[in-house]
């Protein structure tokens, strides 16, 4: 079979003739008919994920006040935003916290409001209280301002997430003697529970694991609006992990940097999130269309939960101390059953990302494609895959006496 092209598939989408399936539906079709016939029949497969993604944020241009100010410090609903750009640009990160937040002084801290909640408030059209401080210049004389702004008042509001949509993620457990409060939720001692945070067979980067179709310019569902893959995400380390015998060689470790117009998005798909004892973050909805250009792409896009594995990581000891090693691998089919067997113990599992919402995203993106209002974005450059051999670097702690140069 000759490969299909992005242009051919887009022509079918425009004509309302494209065959679009969600990744769940493709899993079923391939189980019934096989990869070859499915690859011929299907044009696009839609994926979805809806989970906390800390490396998220938004930048804004607020317009100029009279007299003008050059932001030295900015707070949005009490959350400090990053300045250091031009006069009235600022960036708020999803995990930013109020300067007077008690944090973890009364452990575990609640982190009820943070940068992710500011982004949700803006997207919901709620008024946001803004304070800014300047130091006064001849061109920007104002030294302070306090006002209320809404999303519609701003010139630009752009969601720009440096690392989203982790290809695969840990199944987090706690072998220690005390309860742990982590970004993977509350982990009970002595393997009291196991938390995972990937939509498995619906997860975008597990469905194009070798980056055969995803790259710079890929058009995506982002926060309920249209967004784009603009670069690889930070900590993009695609590689093939240790997997159980017989499992297909599905890479892990890839990530995406994504961007989109916040004004198109919806608070349903961007939710401020509070992780007890850890901090605030943003739960982001992402869906990526995978064009079925050939059989190989179809094969990987159709891998079911039973073929996809998460590494089991101990958050009592290994994770915080950056010690290598896992407690094994577990399939998403087992994780989704609600209980896994670990060290001869029945351990209850729970997701931290919503499979229900991931399914809704994949169905919504499918609908957009069927209606012809969403076309595939052909990447100007694919992202590096496992062949690129990217190796993680770590931060070494050096003595204070040592100087550079």
């Amino acid at each position: 079979m000759a490969d299909k092209t992005f242009a051919e598939i887009n022509a079918k989408i425009r004509a309302g003739k494209a065959v679009v399936l969600t990744a769940e539906e493709l899993v079923q079709l391939v189980a019934e008919k096989g990869v070859g016939p499915a690859a011929k029949e299907v044009d696009v497969v839609t994926t979805g994920t809806f989970g906390p993604m800390c490396s998220s944020g938004a930048y804004f241009n607020f317009g100029h006040s009279a007299p003008r100010i050059k932001f030295h410090r900015v707070w949005l609903n009490g959350i400090p935003a990053a300045t250091g750009f031009a006069a009235v640009d600022a960036f708020v990160g999803a995990t930013a916290l109020p300067e007077d937040d008690p944090l973890n002084t009364n452990h575990p801290g609640e982190f009820r409001y943070g940068g992710g909640h500011v982004i949700e408030d803006f997207v919901a059209g709620r008024p946001v209280r803004m304070k800014a401080a300047g130091y006064g210049t001849d061109c920007y004389p104002r030294r302070e301002l306090e006002t209320t702004v809404k999303l519609d008042d701003l010139n630009e509001a752009v969601l720009f997430n440096p690392r989203n949509a982790y290809q695969n993620y840990a199944c987090a457990v706690n072998t220690g003697p005390r309860t742990l409060y982590t970004y993977m939720g509350v982990l009970k001692p002595g393997l009291g529970n196991a938390h995972y945070s990937t939509s498995g067979q619906l997860s975008p980067l597990l469905k194009d694991p070798y980056f055969r179709t995803i790259g710079i310019g890929t058009r995506i569902f982002l926060g309920g609006g249209t967004g784009y893959v603009v670069w690889n995400g930070t900590q993009h380390f695609p590689g093939i992990p240790a997997l159980p015998e017989g499992a297909p060689p599905v890479p892990a470790g890839g990530t995406l940097a994504v961007l989109g117009d916040l004004k198109q998005m919806s608070p349903k798909w961007l939710r401020g999130t509070s992780m007890l004892g850890y901090g605030a973050t943003l739960t982001v909805g992402i869906g990526i269309p995978v064009p079925i250009l050939n059989e190989e792409i179809c094969y990987y896009a159709s891998r079911p939960d039973s073929d996809l594995y998460a590494p089991i990581i101990d958050y009592a000891e290994a994770y915080p101390n950056r010690k290598p090693g896992t407690l094994g691998q577990v399939s998403y089919a087992a994780l989704k059953s609600g209980v896994i067997n670990l060290n001869d113990k029945q351990v209850l599992t729970a997701p931290v990302s919503s499979y229900h919402k991931a399914r809704e995203i994949s169905a919504t993106l499918k609908q957009w494609l069927l209606e012809g209002k969403f076309l595939l974005g052909e990447p100007v450059q694919l992202l590096p895959g496992p062949d690129a051999g990217i190796k993680p670097k770590s931060l070494e702690i050096r003595g204070s006496g040592r100087r550079n140069g």
Partner: protein, 133 residues
């Protein structure tokens, strides 16, 4: 008699005395301790489920000992419209009152099974669960 959830408050003067066992031994009650806590002032609080024909006599005994007996009026409210069905509350819920329905992967709440431990209230990343009094 239907199970009866009550809150007991023990003054510091009796919080170190064996009292609850009398409910079993002398009043033939079936008890289920749902929560027990002693604060730094040595005052105790206990949430108890009591079942048996002599429950009222047993509670009278507790009152005679200086224990304040109140009905449990707290309830956990799960705000479904705030819930994203992530599931982060389900494996930490000790009684499976919060659980995932499969294969739909939807979170449900069974208030009958809830023992008001309140672990879920702060563990919910969306703060969709609250306690009402």
């Amino acid at each position: 008699m239907a199970p009866n959830k009550i809150v007991l408050r023990f003054p510091a003067s009796i919080s170190d005395k064996p009292i609850i066992f009398h409910l079993v031994k002398d009043y033939d009650l079936m008890i289920n301790i749902l929560k027990a806590h002693i604060n730094p002032h040595k005052e105790g609080t206990m949430v108890l489920e009591v079942e048996g024909s002599r429950a009222e006599d047993g509670l009278g005994f507790l009152r005679d000992q200086g224990v304040v007996v109140q009905p449990l009026t707290e309830e956990i409210v799960w705000n479904e419209d705030q819930c994203t069905h992530c599931g982060a509350c389900t494996a930490i819920c000790p009684t499976r009152a919060l659980y995932i329905e499969r294969p739909a992967m939807l979170v449900h709440f069974d208030s009958e099974a809830c023992v008001i431990c309140q672990l879920c209230v702060r563990a919910c990343p969306m703060r969709a669960i609250e306690v009402r009094f």
